[in-house]
Symmetry: C2
């Protein structure tokens, strides 16, 4: 059995490092000389399971990271003659990023290329962000999870945000959005970018608004453009652009219960109304494409008019904007710029599938990237759960990446614990969808854990859990003693009522008597039954405290 | 605004009493002189919302409960000449229980009767359990939630279990199953029954097994029968009976990853194999029907061969047993005994609908009562979430009652906090399904909360939450000061980026200028836009700590 190593340690900047409990970092070498990361869980029975790993060098043992210096630039020198991954794919070229991704996902590089070429998958990888381990977002790959971090005017510091990024990636976040809106936006983003093993997304209009003292009507195309260039230069991998909020759509939100709930959407609506002009994002969209193209930054076309309540789901405003996003998708792709489409929000379960259907129809199957959705409004404090239900449902229907929601949603800025709760809930939603879509690699994880459970390999159960620390802590609340880690029961049912124990006794009996196939068991059952009754096998262990 | 009263207080037995924060108990009088309970949430805008209430007299203000005396016998003297609710319904009679339920659910009494008559709904109400407030379980009513409690050989006391019952009902559990397997089973159950406002279910084989010192092969029909009679006499409202685990089905579990995971199922499998005889539950089923009929106890036909892992979902063993449950359903109904059918377990999302379809086909739409199911196996410590995803999905498809799963599932016996976490997660799943099924009363709750959110009525938001205490606590973590309760923002985005605030400013402007319809806004927008720019309205509040 693998040793249980110290699972967290902190340097002077309180960055969490060290392996996840019971796991260790391994790298797989590809034929092309690339090394892709995995989290290896060594099991007590001599087997091991390698699972997809997003945590970067922070989970090395020991981890030697210096947040002032930043991560090693893995992708240095990978550039091709093609301006973007999309251009390369269209030209039939397989980039190093595609090979890296193919190895990570267990598919052929050509499959990655083809999905990128038709715009059904995107590789968010700014040329100026060489530190990341390339990953892919698309319905035919593992469902991905994004975690939002970022300070606000009210709370939080740069150091806290870097740690939230490392922490979120540790627990499985595939990308991070830095939504900082307070002071030191540029510096916070710089520190996050230089230290992130996963792609970073932003919403440039937040910083642009800070530059005009928070008054939407003072925004201009020039201020916005300069902000985008500034962020592209830093290495941001994808940007949310609310270019689909058109002037004529604003009145469609008038009768809504919760109006416009997207921050970027409400800012653009206020700008359009104040100037009575069409959105500068829409009017300058081709210019924006040229900027993003030159860095290979991916568009995340924002759903500024997404529903913010069950009452507003799937309304005219929402779907009118989606139609415009479809138009913008075609423009971006004609510039060889990669695109994904953001989606809701708050949607009751029976209206979720329609969102995916329409998005795929209107936006040429560009990867759908949804915020939840929350399946009900009535549980503030538990919106990681209300939205995990919606997220699993919409991912099963084809959403490629899920933006997490934390328990603090609607109530306050998430702290470190909330970030973890949100990431874990969303890894559950994403994996549930991977199972439902019958992703070839998904079920081996479930099978390994269930096998460990049935065989009472408790440590393996903990180590195979999405969150080994919590699984262990819950078990130890009632049975902390070391022998309980090998006991054939837990405190839930106690030894007498452990169904798995009884089943094992029944099965062991069958095996000892050569009744290993269903047919043999059926045939031999009658004559063997008395033997079993007389076998004297103790079915139960004595009660242990 | 309603005063925020002290929301919990404890008597010497540490029973939680007093109203839920921001709510008060009200009763609605029916034309027939019945009084049905509701939880009233008084709102700051003068409106109020009444929601379905399961908490019993414990949420009176002040609550005068005496756990030694028990609750008032509400149903004393309600008996009819019909042996069971099903017999009454078949005869066209509308019982007082049906009238009570109709008022609670907002439907006609005749609709309740008709659903019971065809066996699509059940009223779990033992004649010897007069303390309960009648409720109904059926796909055409609100989705219900069951909470399991009960001590095990390893841990927990009688007092703790009574408090867990009160606590679970407080947060919305519609029924409670007492699954005690340790000492003092009879006494624990007695105390729970006499104090419970909700129906109580049990699994009699657990107590029967205690009577034979935990050896399944020593069980007899007579010991089991006497245990059932003992529990019927006490007032148990529904009983899980694993009569579908037939001898010939046991070998079907031989190749499973997790074998038999139902405790009752594994006990009966061991018995059948040891004696090489058909299950005594199956062979004596008609006799059992006659016992349950004389008390109007409802069958919950157990799924002893339910899958315990993703790998085992929807296999031959599971569906073979379901077929037998269909046969038993018809027998029970011919005896005028009410029936519901238990379901899995662990099922990936794409295999969930098939479970409901087959259950309805094989069991004549008898109410389906499922344990989750968990949509993945990989997150021990978070199985309230893995299973809330499956529960919402299966309830949307037609499951009538959801048996909760707590975060401790697979790891240990749930404590009070785990019970609450499980109940809240399942109220979320059930309500999400009610919305998806377009239950006429479901969405008014979401709308009330979202309206409060949009209008920055923070206290109303907290009080309308499924768990007001947690919503308030999360908000106050970052903005504890009293003025924040009326502020037009929270710490998540801060004042500058509050989309709802911006939307309100835009909308107020439109209203002040008579642009209250979409058409008027569209027509008048151009000429009014300059006015808006010049109006000098401050769009943002100053930053507040």
């Amino acid at each position: 059995m693998a040793d249980v190593r110290p699972h967290t340690s902190t340097d002077q900047h309180t960055i969490t490092t060290g392996p996840i409990r019971g796991s260790r970092k391994v790298y797989h070498d590809t034929d092309e000389g690339l090394r892709t990361p995995a989290r290896r869980i060594d099991l007590a029975n001599g087997e091991h399971l390698d699972v997809y790993d997003t945590s970067g060098p922070y989970t090395h043992d020991p981890a030697t990271v210096d947040v002032h210096r930043g991560l090693e630039p893995l992708r240095q020198g990978w550039a091709t003659e093609h301006p973007t991954q999309l251009a390369a794919a269209k030209a039939g070229a397989v980039t190093k990023e595609m090979r890296f991704i193919a190895a990570r996902e267990g598919v052929r590089p050509e499959f990655v290329r083809d999905e990128v070429a038709i715009g059904r998958a995107v590789i968010c990888a700014n040329r100026k962000h060489p530190e990341i381990e390339p990953m892919i977002i698309g319905k035919n790959f593992l469902v991905k999870v994004n975690a939002n971090i970022g300070n606000s005017a009210v709370t939080s510091s740069v150091e806290e945000e870097v740690e939230k990024m490392v922490w979120a990636a540790r627990w499985g976040a595939d990308t991070i959005m830095d939504l900082s809106t307070g002071k030191r936006i540029h510096e916070t983003r710089e520190r996050i970018l230089r230290n992130s093993p996963v792609p970073i997304g932003t919403v440039p209009i937040y910083q642009a608004l800070e530059k005009v003292d928070g008054s939407p009507e003072k925004l201009t195309w020039e201020i916005y453009r300069d902000t985008v260039v500034e962020q592209c230069e830093q290495g941001v991998d994808y940007m949310t652009v609310h270019a689909g909020v058109l002037l004529r759509y604003v009145p469609l939100t008038a009768q809504r219960v919760t109006g416009i709930v997207s921050r970027g959407g409400s800012i653009m609506a206020a700008w359009c109304l104040a100037h009575h002009r069409e959105s500068f994002l829409y009017e300058h969209f081709s210019e924006l494409c040229e900027i993003l193209r030159s860095y290979d930054v991916t568009f995340s076309l924002g759903d500024g008019l997404r529903p913010g309540s069950i009452a507003d789901a799937n309304d005219r405003a929402q779907f009118a904007e989606l139609e415009t996003l479809g138009e913008l998708t075609r423009i971006a792709k004609s510039h060889d710029v990669q695109v994904m489409i953001e989606g809701p929000g708050h949607v009751p379960m029976h209206k979720i599938a329609e969102n995916v259907r329409l998005e795929e129809e209107l936006c040429e199957e560009a990867p759908f990237y949804t915020l939840g959705p929350l399946a009900t409004d009535i549980a503030p404090g538990y919106d990681h759960i209300t939205s995990a239900i919606g997220a699993a449902t919409i991912a099963q229907a084809g959403t490629a990446m899920l933006c997490y929601v934390t328990p603090k949603e609607h109530l306050g800025l998430p702290n470190r614990d909330d970030v973890k709760a949100g990431v874990i809930a969303y890894k559950i939603a994403a994996h549930s969808a991977d199972l439902a879509k019958e992703h070839p690699r998904a079920q081996e994880w479930d099978d390994a854990l269930s096998k460990a459970r049935f065989e009472f390999r408790w440590q393996d159960q903990f180590h195979l859990a999405l969150d080994p620390d919590t699984a262990l802590a819950y078990h130890d609340e009632t049975l902390p003693a070391e022998p309980a880690k090998t006991a054939h029961f837990c405190s839930m049912c106690g030894p007498k009522f452990c169904s798995m124990k009884i089943t094992q006794d029944v099965r062991r009996y069958a095996e000892e008597h050569g009744l290993t196939s269903v047919e043999a068991i059926e045939a031999g059952m009658r004559e063997k039954s008395e033997e079993f009754a007389d076998s004297g096998n103790s079915v139960y262990l004595p009660v242990v405290d």
